[in-house]
Point group: C2
Chain length 247, copies 2
Amino acid sequence: MLSKAQSKYIRSLEMQKFRQEHRTYLAEGDKIAREWLASSARIQMIVALAPWAAQHQDLIRKHPEAELVLAEEEQLKQVSGLQTPNQVILVVALPEPEKDTLPASWALALDAIRDPGNMGTLLRIADWFGIDTVTCSPDCTDVFAPKVVQSAMGAHLRVRVLEQDLPSFIRDSKLPAVAATLEGTNVYGFRAPAKGILVIGNESRGVSEAVKAACTQQVSIPRTGGAESLNAAVSAGILCALLLPRP
Amino acid sequence: MLSKAQSKYIRSLEMQKFRQEHRTYLAEGDKIAREWLASSARIQMIVALAPWAAQHQDLIRKHPEAELVLAEEEQLKQVSGLQTPNQVILVVALPEPEKDTLPASWALALDAIRDPGNMGTLLRIADWFGIDTVTCSPDCTDVFAPKVVQSAMGAHLRVRVLEQDLPSFIRDSKLPAVAATLEGTNVYGFRAPAKGILVIGNESRGVSEAVKAACTQQVSIPRTGGAESLNAAVSAGILCALLLPRP
């Protein structure tokens, strides 16, 4: 049974302050829980409906470090961040901060991405294109917020995420850095380097001047229609498809 | 002053049922309101804070058909769908149903897109790439829902949206139709027709079998990393950038 204290603890993890304090985050729903339990993530608590727990004993047994708490549907509803709670919520230990900050392949650098849905979609794009490093400026939304975890669809398990001042990250990497802007070189005519950093800017202001100054190039996706701009994650997807080495 | 009846009417337009009944929808916030008032959209009501109305008299005067209602901040908050209400809400007449369903250039066909944020982003992509026609299957989310209008960033004013059974739309158009699937031809090696229909499927199930059967080709974006799939709008953006004629 889920105690009041446990329930309060889980709900607190919707806030970054408490995720930082407890060094844990939430991963919710059947599909995500199965993916997390199959991975090497350190699980602190598994809160599940009894039928779900019975059906996934093998996965649960892989995590002797985790406390298993059976919950009633009503209790799960009270702690869930989803509109329709989905059988299981995990409390997961935040990964240890990464020390080696040099990307092995193309990296993605995110400058002040504020919307959790966009952030999750950007991590999912990195995961699809085999980008191993995503570096977030300190004013990005927290990548361990429940909405980011939901929309990243497992990217947290495969893509390492750093938080760092972007101009320093770019300079230290000694890699060419390509900023997505509205006034750059036409991306269709652009000869991409074999390895580099793709820089995506804030949803309304774009890439900041300080970060632009640290970049070696700027590229744009040419527009045919009337829209003022593209969504940040959509731009990132298009630029990954056009700039990264093709499989 | 905003009356109780007006306030109730505006709130009712958050639901598709009442948008259909009254043949109107909501367009909210400073930027969107300015864009809508500068267009030829038929505006039924302008609900604004007094300073906003004073500052935008020229735009308001362009719409003698519209009833101008000044509201207090507190009143605007009560009818707003935004977390932070933004000075103005418009009630807009739904556009007349389109008769001519043949696209003049590449068209986008959406098969059961359910998420309003995705729908808005897809319309914004169509608007960016100069796609003049977006055809939605009848089980798509309503394109005039407030969240769709917010995330489409003005696309409603420039892209015509049809609702039609997709297999009939594809067959009647006599255009090549390219479905985005996980098992299609590698898009990098694909020779795109000069004009066609790009078909994007549901967020979790992809393009339905019935729609696939009506398509002439299937393409896929090759994956390098571990993600199971890409977000529907991101896939659409990438495929538009790779398939459509380049400006």
